[in-house]
Every structure is written in C-alpha cells, then in structure tokens.
Amino acid sequence: MLGKLSWSAIPIDQPIPLIAAGVVLVVILAVLAWVTLKGYMPYLWREWITSVDHKRIGIMYILLAMVMLLRGGSDALMIRVQQAIAYQSNGYLPPEHFNQIFSAHGTIMIFFVAMPFVIGLMNLVVPLQLGVRDVAFPTLNSVGFWLTATGALLVNVSLVIGEFARTGWLPFPPLSELTYSPGVGVDYYLWSLEISGVGTLVAGINLVTTVLKLRTKGMTYLRMPMFCWTTLASSLLIVAAFPILTATLAMLILDSYFGFHFFTNEAGGNVMMFMNLIWAWGHPEVYILVLPAFGIYSEVVSTFSSKSLFGYRSMVLATMAICIISFMVWLHHFFTMGAGPDVNAIFGIASMIIAVPTGVKIYNWLFTMYGGRIRFATPMLWSVGFMVTFIIGGLTGVLVAVPPADFLLHNSLFLVAHFHNVIIGGVLFGAFAGLTYWFPKAFGFRLHEGLGKAAFWFSLIGFYVTFMPLYAAGLLGMTRRMQHYDVAAWRPWMIVAAIGFVFLTIGIVFQVLQIVVSILQREELRDRTGDPWDGRSLEWATSSPPPVFNFAILPDVHGEEAYWAIKSRAKQRDLEKNEPHYEDIEMPRNSPTGFVCAFFATVMGFALIWHIWWMVALGFVGAFATFVVFAWRDHDEYVIPAAEVARIDRANMAERRALASHPGSA
C-alpha cells in the first residue's frame, strides 16, 4: 500500500535532524496559525499564491532563496564545526550523517538558493527594464515557481522521512547506483531536481521569449540595459543546458529503478559518460548563475557612479562570448580522469580563454567607476567587494584550469575554496547587491543603510577568514568532504575557518535584522518617487512598488539608458503639462494552476521516491486535470479601466513633480 514507506523511515535514533525538523515544523505551524488567526489567508491566496504578476512571483522566488539560504547555511555551520573538531577523533557527526549534510548543503545552495535568487531578480526586474507589463507567459511563470518550491520541499522532507543522498551535490556513479546507495537518499535528490528542473526550464523559456519578443516601442537590442542582456544569455543557457540535466538524471533513475545499464559497472555501462553529461550541464550552470550577477553589478556600478556603463557594447559581446564558450570547457572538471594530454590541453586553453571576456567586464566596471561621482551605498559596497573577491577566485580558477596543476589540486580543499570564492563572491554578493538595489522598487521603501553596511562588512571579512584557510589546507593536501583527519598541519586552518564562519553568520543575522528593522521603519524609508537611487533604466520610471500593470503608458525609448534620457530631457515636465491619454489595460487573471499543479507534483515526487505506484498515478492524473481545467476557463484577462489607470498614475506623477522641482535633484 505505501511502497517502501514505513515508520522506520523516521530517524528516531538521530537527534540532530529530528530536533532541526521539529523546530522547522513548529515555526511553520506558528506562521500558519498566525496567518490564519489574523485572517491573512484569503489575502495570501488571492494576492500571492495564485498571482501571475511577474513582480510577485519574483519576490516569492527570492523569499524561497533566502529561507533556503538559512537551511544551507546551517548545513555549512555543521560541516565547519565538524572539521574543526574532528582531528584524530570522530567529531560529533557520524559519517553517514556528515555525508548527507555536505550533499544537502551543495544541492540546496546551488539549486534552491542561487538559482531561485537570480531567477527571482530576473523575473522582478526584466519586464520593468524592458518597459512592458509582464513576462511572455505569466501563468507558466507561476507554474515554474511552484515547481521549484516543490523541489525544495522534497529535499527538506528528506530530513525527517528517510534520508538524503550521501553522494555529494552531483550523484556520481557507481556510488549513486543501487548497489552502493540502496536507500531513498539518491531518489530524493533525483526527483526533487527533475521536478524543480522543469520549473527552471519553464522560467528560462519564459525569459528568453520575454527579452527577445516583448520589448517596448523603440527598445532595440542595443538599447537594452545590461541586466536584460545577461538575463538573455543566462536564460539561453538554461534552455540549452537544463534538458541535459533532465536527461542525465532520467538515465540514473532508469538505472536504479529498472536495472538499466547506463552508468553501471556491468553489462557495458559507462561511468565516464555520466561525468561528461553532468558537466555538459554543470559548467554552463556556473554561468547561468553568475551572468545575471554580472548584469546586476553593471546596473549598480553605473547607477552609483552616476555615469553610463563604460564599454556597453564590449560588455554585450563579452556576455554573449561567455554564453557560447561556457559550453566548451566542461571537461576541466575531470582532467584527472584519463582523457589524455591532448584533450586536457584543449580544454585547459578553452578554460583560460573564458577568463578573457570576464576580465573585459572587470575593466569595464573599473572604468565606469573612474571619474564617476561614486556613492558608496550598500549595493555599491557589495559590487566593489565582489570585484576584489572575484578576481582572486578567477585567478585560482585559471590556476586549476592548468591540467598539471589540477592533478595536484583536484578534489582538494583548494578547489572547494575556489568555487566558494566565485559563487559567494560572484553570485551571492550579486544577489545581495540586487536585493538592496531593487528592494525599494519591489516594496516601496529602502532597506536600512547602516545594517546593510554591517551585513556587508561581516560577510566580506567572514568570507575571507573562512575560505582563505581552505586554500592553504588544500595546498597542504587536504581533500574535500573529510569526516575526520589525522594531519596536525590542517587543524589550525580548520579552526580559523570555523571562526570565519562565525563572522559570516553574524553577516546573515544583520541581513535578517536589516529586513526586520526596515519593515518597522518603513515610513521613514519610504520611496515616494519610484526613483530612490537616481537610476538610469526604465524600472525607475514607474512608482515603487509599481502598479500591477507596471506602466500606465508603455514608454517610448529613444536611446540607451532610457529613463536617464527621459530625466535629462525633462520629459516629465511635458507630461505634467499635457497629461497623456490613458486607456483601458488588459491584464492576465490570477490562477491557482501553478500551486495546484505543484501540489500534485509533490504528491507524485514523494510517491515515486517511496515506490507508491497508485499515488504516482493519482499525482499524474491530478496534474493533467489541472491543466485541462486551466485550458477550459473562458476569461483569462480582466480590464483595468482608464479612469483607474489615470488615478494611479497621477498620484505617482505628483510625487515626481515635487522631486523635479528641486533643482539639481534629477
């Protein structure tokens, strides 16, 4: 009846996951109770859960990422503590638990923190920057988000029911095959990523179509803000790379569920094929994450230097070059696995070539700052911190791209330090820069500056104190994922790293405080004009938060930096004199399709993990029925009357007029 599921699946003998899960459960129940008692449930359902508004969906993506950051961060804390005390002892985590923790840490941080964070920011900002009312497929957008949430949910369910994979964040066979991983851990990994992978693919298709097809009048490709370009590149990579992940994981599923022989040691299976396939997705994935961050830095550096972006066209070229070359370097992830010197040399050179466009970008940002009137607000601090940190990460990256050096550094903590250096220093700093930069746009008030700066400094110092020791330990020969070790020379570095993590944790605490305090002080931090940073692109041309239709009149673009041009030509004053002719606006109606579909996907995923076949069928039929019901509805749009549009727009125009009448402020 319930497949492999029984009471023994709950790890009663392991206090750590049980207590953690208990705390999470209590928090969830408390939040649910609070929401229900306060009567917010209908509001949440109507305005958020069923929303197809790209801004709302973007915010939900970011919220998911931040919650999962806490989960992945707790895993990191446990790893650091274990390695600090596990010198000639077993530490406090048994091996099978430690292995699950580092696997969950990597999986969660990449798929459920970094991915939703950048996809959320792209969703939130890109339609605004393009001057349009929504993404190309609003309901599909909601489906994509909820499927991502399903994946995150399944990974976290594994904490209490069953176990998680012990194979690392990429399940390399033969370890991940049935023989060596007979439990449900790998299955949790596989199905949550298959399901959330569909969500990511949907988001990618949506954003490619949005950038290529939905641009306001006059917004030619070479007038798009840099963030739109990097979104395009990143989404193209999603479209081209995620299907490979889906196919590869499907093959692993067939191996372990039905005894196929793709990656087994018997009957002609080929383990190296998994390496090639997974990294053919895995390397582009790195750029899927970091390219949007590059776009954020471009926006932030230009805005806070009060200058246009230096070398806009070279930046576009560099972005698209990275987009293409990122598919030609995957083999550098396994130089040591017998490809031979010729192949290694080619991939080593390709890996060094991809550093060139990245270098171009760094110089462009530096020259953007040069001679600018720089304001060191929090987003700008994250950007400058990024530039320094990312250069170090890039240099160590070029180092491991040299095959002979890689033979020494492969799978060592040096590598761990390198990719944390580029992912924290590149992606996460970018996400935080984007968060503080666009937060006022999303919610109508700025984040507290002092706390933001404190969060930045603690994170920056914490990052260096945590990860620089890992470079040293790696050079001393310490391999990654060690549950315990006997080499005395490594120990001091592990202790320093654990101390560094305390700083990182304080940084995170300040981030949370920053949000809480800003919500409490929102009246003082209110952004009334919609343009708190003296911005240059179109998202600042509408109010904060933007009305559901984004723009009362779709803007007409005449050059790069559309909003800057509008401001400099003082077009606003024209608008003030001749009020535009407002028209009715048609917007897509809300739909629970995404949420209901994700509910059935959760049921189906859980049932597949535990081999409950009738429940699999139920989930599938439910998901299909959801789509048919959606397809059957008669009204997919509603109309906002012109009078209402005019009322909303006039209020914002009045605020802007007040700003424009202060000389020197625009």
Partner: protein, 216 residues
Amino acid sequence: MTDAAIAYPHGDPHHLRGMEASRVAHAGPPSKRIVTGYGFWIFILSDMVMFSAFFATYAVLLGQTAGGPSGRELFNLRNVAIETGFLLASSFTCGLATIAADLRNKTWFHLAMGVTCVFGLAFLAIEAREFADLVARGAGPTRSAFLSAFFTLVGCHGLHVSAGELWLLTMIAQVFAKGFRADIQRRILCFALFWHALDIIWIAVFTIVYLLGSAS
C-alpha cells in the same frame, strides 16, 4: 543615418506593416500569437537538446552489447518502415487540421485530427509490439548498455507521441466545446509545432538507430 535605419535597415520581419512601422526602431511587442509560437519554438529547441543527450548516449553505448544481441540481429526494417509511414502520414493530416483551423471549419478539423490520432495510435501500437517482442526474446533494456540506450531513446520519443495523443484529444474536445477561440487557435498552433517536431526527431531516430544500426 538615423537610429531606426541602423537598427532595422529592412524593417522588422515580424511587422510587415509597410513604411510606417519600419520608421520606428522597434515597434513594441508583437501579437500574442507570435509570442506564443515563438516561446513554443524555444521549448521545442530545449526538447531537441534533451533528445540530443539521448542520441549521444546511444552513440557512445552502441557497441556495448555485453555479449548480447546487436541492432543488426534485432531490428526489423519492414516494421519500422510501416511505423514511419504512419507517423509521416499523421504529420500530413495534422497539417490538414491546421488548415481547417485557419478556415474555422470544425468538421474538417475534427476529421483531420481524428485521423492524426488514429495514425499516431497505430505508430504507438507497432512500437509497443516491437518492444514487447524484444523483451520476450530476452533483449530487454536490462540486457546490455546498448539496449538500455535503445529503449530509452526510442521510448522517450514514444512517450512524447503519447503525450501528444493526450494533447490531441484535449484539443479535439476543446474545439468541440469552445470553438476556434483565439487562445485555442494558439494552442492548435503549438500542438502542430510539437507534432511536426516529433516527426523530425523520428527521422533522426529512423536514420541513426534503425538504418545505421542494421547496417553495422
């Protein structure tokens, strides 16, 4: 030279509205039909990438028969030819259905979609029989890496056709119940793209799996 002339010297191909439209650099978002079709094309491209992963796998594992039968011993080209005939014919009738939808002719639309459905089912039946026959002869997917790759690649196409059948029946029901509404027309467009794309993939399957497989 003006900005507009630089951006689109010959006008935006998606906005053939004469000189008026080509004078602006970019005329703004196109119609929903174009956006939907475009987005679906992107999806089809991603689907092709997924198939290419399976094709690559098949190519790598082609020789790994683990002492079991190879394609030369297993494939029955006559069967495959009939199968292919059904699928190609279904694509033709699917094209007829698209024309009927453009002309808003319900009778012809239902007729053409019905025939498409039957041809598709015939294709699936032949494929299912082939698979059952192979398993019965001890050449199932667990026999060797080669057979794993074969069953997965061909089966993945078969799953796509099955999903297409489900979609096809839904479209028939929708047109029957709601007529040729604009959103339903867009879905018919996407369905047709999907169905034809499966044909393209089948041509690759036919060539690489069956023709080259029987020759080697």
